[in-house]
Symmetry: D2
Subunit: 321 residues, 4 copies
Amino acid sequence: MAIRGEVAHLGHFELLTPKPSESLWFFEQVMGMEREAEEGGSVYLRGFGDYERYCLKLTESETSGMGHLALRASSQEALDRRVEALERSGAGIGWIDGDVGHGPAYRFSDPDGRTFEIYWESERYSPPAQLRPAMLNQQQKRTGRGVGVRRLEHLNFVSPEVRSCRRFLEDELGYRSLEIIELDDGREYGAWLTATVQGHEIIYILEHQPVRGRLHHAAFWVDTREEVLRAADLFQDAGIFIEAGPAKHTPIHSFYLYVYEPGGNRIEVTSGGYLVFDPAPDATTIWHEAEYKSSRAWGRAFPPSFDTYATPPYEEPAAGA
Amino acid sequence: MAIRGEVAHLGHFELLTPKPSESLWFFEQVMGMEREAEEGGSVYLRGFGDYERYCLKLTESETSGMGHLALRASSQEALDRRVEALERSGAGIGWIDGDVGHGPAYRFSDPDGRTFEIYWESERYSPPAQLRPAMLNQQQKRTGRGVGVRRLEHLNFVSPEVRSCRRFLEDELGYRSLEIIELDDGREYGAWLTATVQGHEIIYILEHQPVRGRLHHAAFWVDTREEVLRAADLFQDAGIFIEAGPAKHTPIHSFYLYVYEPGGNRIEVTSGGYLVFDPAPDATTIWHEAEYKSSRAWGRAFPPSFDTYATPPYEEPAAGA
Amino acid sequence: MAIRGEVAHLGHFELLTPKPSESLWFFEQVMGMEREAEEGGSVYLRGFGDYERYCLKLTESETSGMGHLALRASSQEALDRRVEALERSGAGIGWIDGDVGHGPAYRFSDPDGRTFEIYWESERYSPPAQLRPAMLNQQQKRTGRGVGVRRLEHLNFVSPEVRSCRRFLEDELGYRSLEIIELDDGREYGAWLTATVQGHEIIYILEHQPVRGRLHHAAFWVDTREEVLRAADLFQDAGIFIEAGPAKHTPIHSFYLYVYEPGGNRIEVTSGGYLVFDPAPDATTIWHEAEYKSSRAWGRAFPPSFDTYATPPYEEPAAGA
Amino acid sequence: MAIRGEVAHLGHFELLTPKPSESLWFFEQVMGMEREAEEGGSVYLRGFGDYERYCLKLTESETSGMGHLALRASSQEALDRRVEALERSGAGIGWIDGDVGHGPAYRFSDPDGRTFEIYWESERYSPPAQLRPAMLNQQQKRTGRGVGVRRLEHLNFVSPEVRSCRRFLEDELGYRSLEIIELDDGREYGAWLTATVQGHEIIYILEHQPVRGRLHHAAFWVDTREEVLRAADLFQDAGIFIEAGPAKHTPIHSFYLYVYEPGGNRIEVTSGGYLVFDPAPDATTIWHEAEYKSSRAWGRAFPPSFDTYATPPYEEPAAGA
């Protein structure tokens, strides 16, 4: 019943890369994350503000895209209730024993077939000597290396059926939709969902290719817009392709910067935006297509690749296939 | 049980001022708030991001301090459950019909005797033509006047019994304590509480005078630390006394700037800090006195007035009284 | 010889507008400038940091564009030497008695026929009571109204002969060229000139229409990039068209935001960039076309209007004319 | 005669340290500078924006303080004229052959006996492959390591005779005094001098100990106030003592942060402030003691150590000595 609050927050996600050493260089040296563990072909990386051990599991793979997304429940009881609901819904897959840093996790699928997990038991991060911070309420020292991201902020997925995916998160996991863009043809172009008051944690936007389950981007948080601007300078000097930004998003008003990491996945560095405190069920901002197009933040549109590129990349079937 | 989430957020507070026109000038012209209503000797003022009609009720009075603090429940059912609990606890006072912009509210007292209210029914703000914004997901146009605060961020109270007040908010209203400072003598020096994931909404710190119920400060949010720095320039040119800051707080790491508004109340302009996502009951950071004193953010201490001044001002009883 | 240093800085410029009251609203209410004087159909406006009385003379006219640009010499002797050189060069027009706030000025033309003036005698600004600042080294109180520009930063002109214009400023006025973009066809696409160490004061870029003497934009300075971002929000809510930015310029690395004021002139709000201290004659950065195109700051290009729109607007002659 | 402009800018300074490896760690790892050369017990370090090879020569020594300050002349002729004047003035010492990165330099003393040098011939920096930047008008790639200072901004000396030192720089080297603080007893408390339009390059403030020739601090520039705030976080986590700031200076309004590097020298990270364009001889802001004390920026005073600590440290002679 009182579903809201049963998912506490995004735990971590697994990113697949066909270029593991270059991707590792990107996240460690350019993004400034720390290697917390390595196991079975995966490297586990953390932002300086993660209270858990990591937020990114980087895994070598034949292609790019997301492996899975793991959500932390707000208690053991909340986990049990969500699992029961997920099993009832038909989306359930089953339990796994856990992974580095967390206990048993229940696997399920979103309507597009992406793998999600939900868990409760979690290890609190304990820094090694060289990362010990000055203050008790810091998880880790700031090293001053690279962009210096604090934490994972949101995941953005592309889906042919934004509405179904959105309703699945609302109905089975208690997410709130803060903003929805509706197209004139009745489909939803995008939905911005959160389990807390922060502007967004999971986003679905429309897939334009005949595929399912792709990742649009993963966004990491820095504390200020100035750090997003600084990141743009660092990316350019590091030879990282900048696709769009720094600029202001129309939904949530967050400040964005999109790049492609060496494995091909689109990564966002983000800050700002607003918190949404209104608890009312009708608090969602619903944009109609024309409203959205005519009042974009700072009048800025995205480059065409923003609507077509996602990972793994889509390849047109060969003629005659 | 499942108290968490039943209080949605701070609604508004009533600030008492012996200099109503000067205080109004401060909040409207210097802080950049909008007059949304005037009724019965009070002026209702809003930040540009308030989805409700206002966050500040400014009321003429013989002295300074806080009139009441109003909290919004997250639903009618949540309100009913909180009222039932408050009545049981003995803290309840009773219902009032409502006020500008909100419906019936239940009054109760914190352990120091401050007046709190909790309500559910609320009018969503609808801007007049001259304040209509460019985008659908903005509540109001940014006027560019003065500091330009977005919303009320937190209230800080001084109390001779921080621990009792903290436990009252936890037990009866579902607040989480994110940080607590414990003195060597066993008392608590301060407690930082929230009903969401944002760093703080209500703070209690130790009262050093033989009085109860005083206000340490009310804090308004701006989106960036740069706007806090800009505010310091505006305050100095406007002749407003700056007591401390801009600088970084040790708890929550938010960026602060403290001034006294013409009515004598301490007002903070704040930004930054971190969100606390860890849902675990033991996620509170507990500082022991020595730890806190030896690792303050940027090594900075407050001026002595920070520990003694609150509103209404304390006046020593005349000798022989 | 020893020309360098004889022009001290940009004094002010005259902007022509066919919509004087709307343009005045823009500069006063949105840009946050102060009306310092009104005389003969012109309003004289100042930024909060101008030590002279004003930097903008806004004049009603049939069309848009620049009336004149006035430069302050660094001494009476420097003025005399420049006038002598200008007379010799054939660019001289003659003396005028002065204008609000400054003494005798010598008029001359740049190679495109724009009117420039150079003067030495200047009144230092003295603020009225309501604009008196808190500190001795401030020219004026910060009012907190609108964007809040400090001063005029640079003027950008479009010219069919960038090289001639650049050499004129170098040879007759002692400007340094900090950056030059050279096209493959041998023409110069742009030249960034300064009389001091600040990144640019006068810019010429290529005119694509068969006209001479147009204004590309006038740029006003704010102290931080965050204020440029804040300006973008204010412009959008005020209904001002944003053409490009906020983003980073390739030459000088300054942070830009371009809008059209109601009279049609392009106005930039700018901050950041670097100072150029190298005094050597060969310190100019010379970009070849391909280098410039392949390494733009943050990979960002301008919208097409940036290369075609200037004021006064160019109108194609009617067919058969 | 036309002295102004003959000194182009600060070239570099030599900092003495009794803890060379710890000081090197500070400048390289925490401040983010690059090692450009090592020779004869000195390490030569650069900011990312230096067009010359370095701005800091770090030299092992028995105690702390400054070795010498080197100024770049604006041409060979300017150098010759300054040397002639310095010889006439009695402050001259004589020529040295040069040092890493620059040609012959003329040594002289300021009135306190500090060693200054002035030179013209200078090597332009050429980055190695791993520091090659993305754009032609950058000197070097931004590595994203540590604070990331762009360049040396100013040197601040303590002197028992501020007025004599100031006049020496004005009369022999063409510096302008932008701000002067005069004490009630007729002495000058401080003088802020520049050779360009930037707010300050050399500062003298009053020495309170019976010694001459000490260094108050050396200041390095970052492009934004946000980077100064970021630096404060990095310093705290790196265990570097923060003496004062981040906050706003009263003269020049620059944003400051003072720390002690491991060798004991006070180092400032600075940004912001204003450029001074007024070329008039009477453009200096002269503060009388009371004016200065009553209108400090943001009402903030320095800690007592700011008036007493300088390098090398002063040690009271033993009693009876």
